[in-house]
């Protein structure tokens, strides 16, 4: 077990996001002969992001199984196999298509332990890639907020290769269903991963940048955007603390609340929709925890505009939060602007597009 942020003296190796995924799967599959992978083009092809490269060669078609384009059956088969003793990883290449598998995932897997009074459970990891990068309205969505409220379901979202590795290993040791959400734009970005085997515990956020003036909570690719924004803010002497949630269900409200107690200002950031989004939940829970002591708390939320995400680069950029827009929102909160300003899309002229 290693702690969430590798210590200075922990030996690390730099690798691509996909290599971290492969490493986690390889280690767990070597350890547990009952783990199977189900997905489209994950066998000899190695996955659309090459995120399963080499696993077919090592474990063969018995354990790395290509399936037809049938997400409902993919999830159902993975869930049923898991319930019957074969822990499965179901790869759903685009999160937009996870909706097709919502029935077995939400109506069966998430409820299995409860509905059977503890007789059965479904240790399945549904791994899916979210996010927008020029692929259009049905290949760009970030839907993790929809899943956070499902009782019986855990949801995690790594933003670094280290957590891609650590959270996937952790997910593969859970006894119930986990949705593991990575992001298209994280795949090109390498990062340091501890050499020693270990997991990233689910339910623990990571402070990516320490700051004193405001707290930005975020997850997945937006963590990188938040860090860029924090650099812009630092140039104006605004010190932003950036918290990478990593775990959306369960949320690490201890870390978030402790930070907000220090800064008094919370900006939540996500690539998905703000309405009923991750940020809405985080901000509400912070307020609940602070109680009357939080009466001076200023919160704002930033996410995609309430529009489908077009493949058109101009429109996609206008829709999604970028570093400048995040910095503008943080600045506005810091100087005391009303939180409502940020959520009001008619005021997007306040944000620059990038």
């Amino acid at each position: 077990m290693f702690s969430e942020m590798p210590k200075e003296n922990d030996a690390t190796v730099k690798m691509y996001f996909r290599e971290a995924i492969i490493r986690a799967l390889r280690e767990e599959m070597r350890d547990d002969p009952n783990i199977v992978l189900l997905g489209q083009d994950i066998g000899a092809f190695g996955g659309s992001y090459r995120e399963f490269d080499g696993l077919y060669g090592e474990f063969g078609p018995r354990r790395v199984r290509d399936m037809p384009v049938a997400e409902a059956a993919m999830v159902g088969v993975g869930v049923g196999a898991a319930a019957a003793g074969h822990r499965s990883v179901v790869s759903i290449t685009y999160m937009d298509f996870l909706m097709l598998g919502f029935d077995p995932l939400i109506n069966y897997a998430a409820k299995l332990r409860y509905k059977t009074g503890g007789q059965l459970n479904a240790p399945v990891v549904v791994k899916t890639t979210a996010g927008a990068r020029g692929q259009g309205v049905a290949h760009s969505q970030c839907l993790e907020a929809w899943l956070m409220s499902v009782p019986g379901l855990k949801v995690v979202a790594p933003s670094t290769p280290a957590d891609a590795y650590g959270l996937l290993k952790a997910a593969l040791r859970e006894t119930g269903p986990v949705v593991y959400v990575d992001h298209k734009r994280l795949f090109p970005i390498p990062g340091d991963v501890p050499i020693a085997e270990g997991i990233t515990r689910i339910g623990h956020a990571a402070i990516r940048r320490v700051g004193v003036d405001l707290t930005i909570t975020t997850h997945s690719f937006m963590t990188r955007v938040a860090l860029e924004a924090a650099e812009l803010l630092a140039a104006e002497n605004i010190s932003a603390e950036v918290i990478d949630l990593r775990s959306l269900a369960p949320l690490d409200m201890d870390t978030v609340t402790a930070s907000v107690r220090r800064t008094g200002i919370l900006l939540t950031l996500e690539e998905g929709q703000m309405t009923c989004g991750v940020g809405a939940e985080v901000a509400t829970r912070v307020r609940e925890r602070l109680g009357p002591a939080g009466s001076a708390l200023r919160t704002g939320r930033l996410g995609a505009l309430p529009v489908p995400v077009s493949s058109n680069p101009v429109l996609e950029a206008a829709c999604l939060p970028g570093a400048h827009r995040v910095a503008a929102a943080a600045r506005a909160l810091f100087v005391g602007a009303a939180a409502e300003v940020l959520a009001d899309t008619s005021t997007t002229h306040l944000w620059s597009t990038s």
């Binding site: 992001y49 090459r50 090109p188």
Partner: protein, 101 residues
Amino acid sequence: MIYQISVPGLVADVEEIRVLEWHGCIGHEFDAGDLIVELETHKALVEVRAGQRGILRQILVEEGNWQKIGFPLCLMTDTAGEPLPDSVESAGDLLVAFEIT
């Protein structure tokens, strides 16, 4: 003349690559069309081939190490005896062709 080979701007979003294999040691003379080095992006292999003749004089990024797009990988010269500069700023870019597989 002194040239550098910088990591070519490849596909969108690629910020950093890893050097997979150098196809020649220090002193090797590459002809136009020769494979100089293979690079690895998150998804693909990139073959960097010489667009002109040059002699490999200094490898700046060893195999297995990383380099950002636009930053130098190695130094090359027209002739074997040319002294190397103290810094790479004075080097022009070597003409290269690259192929992504």
